[in-house]
């Protein structure tokens, strides 16, 4: 087992005993102020409803997020169906409307984990949650000027994944496989999405160290398999043999690329992807992908719900936490052909048991803005 993953898992998975110790310590320090009822709206909620607001049920990524959320809900002795699914279907408008409806339904007695779908949507969502006295943790999308610490306790945390560095790592793996020279094309996500921007930036960083590699083209494939296949075939026409490596912004895109190449009888093209979905991991094991990056959506899904919930019931008081506990990067694991099998055994064949009160253990440091 590669040391990287081993370390990672060790960091993330705690034994039951450790949990109890840490938990007890946490309670002791945090419970006191809660009892005395400080705080703006209300100090703590009892038995808040829990909801996850996310894009759709049509992708492996969000399915993993939801499973993580459900695992957390079960860990506090409730049933899976107690977690309410608010599905935005890619519409910021619906995302906001659903969250407000949920706030109204519960009268603010709720904890919400949320991907606001588009970064500008984060502000009204958070404002609504604060106004209702509920608690929210967000992931992925928020604008740079919006910070949890500006909202007291109600905006518990924001987690995102710094995609730039892992993307740079996959790019380096790709370039090395290309022998340090040749032409590369990048197939990106929806152009305005933050992850799409960062993943392209990572590629560009890596390019600086490989002067003999040329970025032939970078175009959005909208996270879409079909569009990726069509874009890839058009790239083949435009650049033909000059393409010696392919950098994909997502696993879904890589599937389309691989199939477009398969149609042409090309099977030995170096390709890297992102997201670490089960199918992609298999492709890495088969050698069809060089690498992908796992962002552990299962953990992200669980811990976001956990953060909001525990803040809500007063397990800890967000405003007393340091900023690196309010805005932080999620874990990223590079999966290469060397360690894919172990990764699969660890994460896909069995679901690791996470300690849902170890909020920041596997996180990756405070979010940096530029």
């Amino acid at each position: 087992m590669s040391t990287f993953i081993k370390d990672y898992i060790d960091r993330e998975v705690m034994t039951r005993r450790k949990l109890l110790l840490a938990g007890a310590a946490g309670m002791a320090t945090l419970a006191a102020p809660a009892i005395f009822g400080r705080g703006q709206a209300r100090a703590a909620l009892t038995d808040p409803a829990i909801a996850w607001s996310y894009r759709d049920r049509a992708s492996a990524y969000w399915n993993a997020v939801v499973s993580g959320g459900e695992a957390f809900v079960e860990s506090i002795g409730r049933s899976k169906s107690d977690m309410v699914n608010l599905i935005s279907e890619g519409s910021s408008e619906k995302s906001l409307a659903d969250i407000k409806a949920f706030l109204a339904k519960t009268g603010g007695n709720c904890a919400i984990a949320c991907d606001p779908n588009d970064s500008p949507n984060a502000r009204p969502v958070v404002e609504a949650v604060q106004a209702a006295g509920a608690y929210i943790s967000t992931i992925w999308n928020k604008t740079d000027d919006l910070h949890p610490w500006d909202f007291g306790d109600n905006y518990v945390s924001h987690m995102t994944w710094s995609d730039e560095q892992p993307s740079e790592q996959t790019a380096r793996i790709l370039f090395e496989a290309m022998g340090g020279k040749g032409g590369v094309v990048h197939l990106g996500g929806i152009a305005a999405n933050n992850p799409a921007v960062e993943r392209l930036a990572g590629l560009q960083n890596a390019l600086k160290d490989f002067p003999e590699i040329e970025l032939l083209d970078a175009q959005p494939a909208d996270w879409d398999t079909t569009k990726a296949a069509e874009l890839m075939s058009s790239f083949l026409t435009r650049y033909g043999d000059r393409i010696t490596g392919i950098h994909c912004a997502a696993d879904n895109i890589a599937y389309g690329v691989i199939e477009a190449l398969r149609a042409e009888g090309i099977t030995d093209m170096p390709i890297v992807a992102y997201d670490g979905n089960p199918e992609a991991v298999k492709l890495v094991m088969d050698g069809q992908l060089l690498a992908t990056v796992f962002t552990n959506p299962y953990w992200g899904g669980g811990i976001s719900a956990a953060l909001a919930y525990h803040a809500a019931i007063g397990t800890f008081k967000p405003s007393e936490e340091p900023q690196e506990h309010r805005e932080f990067y999620g874990p990223t694991v590079l999966i290469t052909q060397k360690d894919a099998a172990e990764f699969k055994a660890q994460y896909l064949d069995a679901t690791p048991a996470y300690d849902w009160t170890n909020f920041w253990g596997p996180s990756n440091g405070q979010i940096q803005y530029r």
Binding site: A58, L231, S233, T237, E259, A263
Partner: protein, 319 residues
């Protein structure tokens, strides 16, 4: 053939296609390479099947917006059934193909029933049934991807004859079949009768309801074929497999010269239309157009194509 106004308009879509090919080839000669033509053909096949299906509906003067849902649902059901039946075309999984064609026909028929029995205009009926289809696909998969690894089945994509993948030939055969249905069967002609004058057709003893139901069921079969091609092309199915097909297919059909008000145009127009849209899509990348311009340019080119192929003397107004 004389160079009359009518002939120019009739051939306008084909001329637009030719013009686009010449334009793109002039900017980047690689556009005309045999391999790129194969790529365009391959990319066109699923959309082509959807366009054929919806052409019948549009010729009837109705519209069908359910294709995305139907294709997604058929694709995931096809994959699941294929795997359940052994996961290899040789080992009995071929049964999944007729089964899914039936399934497509059934769903199309259902859309037709909602439209005809509940008397809901087809726009709304099919839109809602599209939601149902996508929703059912989500329900069946729970949002997961279903993959098919069978090499025999994937030969549709990988086996090439004269440089073109097998599925392109099958698609061509299906275009011929659709053309045959349109021109040489009672059903096909009845589509035109209903599109040309529904009440008159009814008064002449044509069972308009049955023709409509048959039309929607037939379209469903073609959507199911599109689903199978989509799976063959991508090796996987999920609840978004049919995404984007609706606007692409309808735009193609109209660009090819099929009138949205019914009765005019047909299968061959749809074929030209699909090729126009896919040539534009491929060509814009091949000539290196910045991606943010692509949607706008596609729109402009589509407008030009439709304007050229509309006989403004025959149309008193458009809606």
């Amino acid at each position: 053939m004389k160079l009359t106004r009518e002939n120019v308009i009739r051939w306008a879509p084909a001329l637009v296609l030719l013009g686009l090919v010449v334009l793109f080839a002039a900017i980047n000669p690689a556009f005309l390479s045999q391999r790129n033509l194969a790529r365009i053909a391959l990319a066109s096949t699923p959309a082509m099947m959807v366009a054929l299906g919806v052409t019948f509906i549009i010729v009837m003067g109705s519209i069908d917006l359910s294709m995305e849902g139907v294709v997604s649902l058929c694709a995931v059901l096809f994959c699941l059934l294929f795997l359940r039946l052994g996961g290899s075309l040789g080992a009995g999984a071929w049964l999944a193909i007729p089964a899914i064609l039936l399934c497509g026909a059934f769903f199309g028929w259902l859309t037709g029933m909602v439209h005809v029995r509940l008397q809901i205009p087809s726009f709304m009926a099919s839109l809602a049934m599209g939601f149902v289809g996508t929703g059912a696909a989500v329900l069946v998969t729970g949002g997961d991807i279903v993959r098919i690894e069978d090499d025999v089945f994937r030969a549709l994509l990988t086996w090439r004859i004269l440089g073109f993948p097998l599925m392109v030939y099958i698609a061509a055969a299906l275009v011929l079949l659709a053309w045959f249905i349109q021109n040489h069967t009672t059903l096909g002609r009845n589509f035109y009768a209903v599109g040309g004058g529904e009440e008159l057709a009814h008064a002449s003893g044509v069972n308009v309801r049955r023709v409509r139901l048959a039309g929607f069921a037939l379209a469903g079969v073609f959507y199911a074929i599109a689903a199978i091609f989509q799976v063959a092309r991508l090796g996987q199915a999920e609840s978004v497999t049919g995404a984007n097909l609706m606007f692409v297919a309808i735009t193609s059909v109209v660009v090819g010269g099929v009138a949205l008000w019914g009765g005019i145009g047909g299968v061959l127009n749809a074929v030209v239309g699909v090729l126009i849209v896919n040539v534009i899509g491929n060509g814009m990348v091949v000539i290196g157009l910045p991606n943010y311009l692509q949607d706008g340019l596609l729109g402009v080119l589509v407008i030009i194509a439709v304007v050229l192929s509309t006989d403004r003397r025959l149309v008193s107004f458009a809606k």
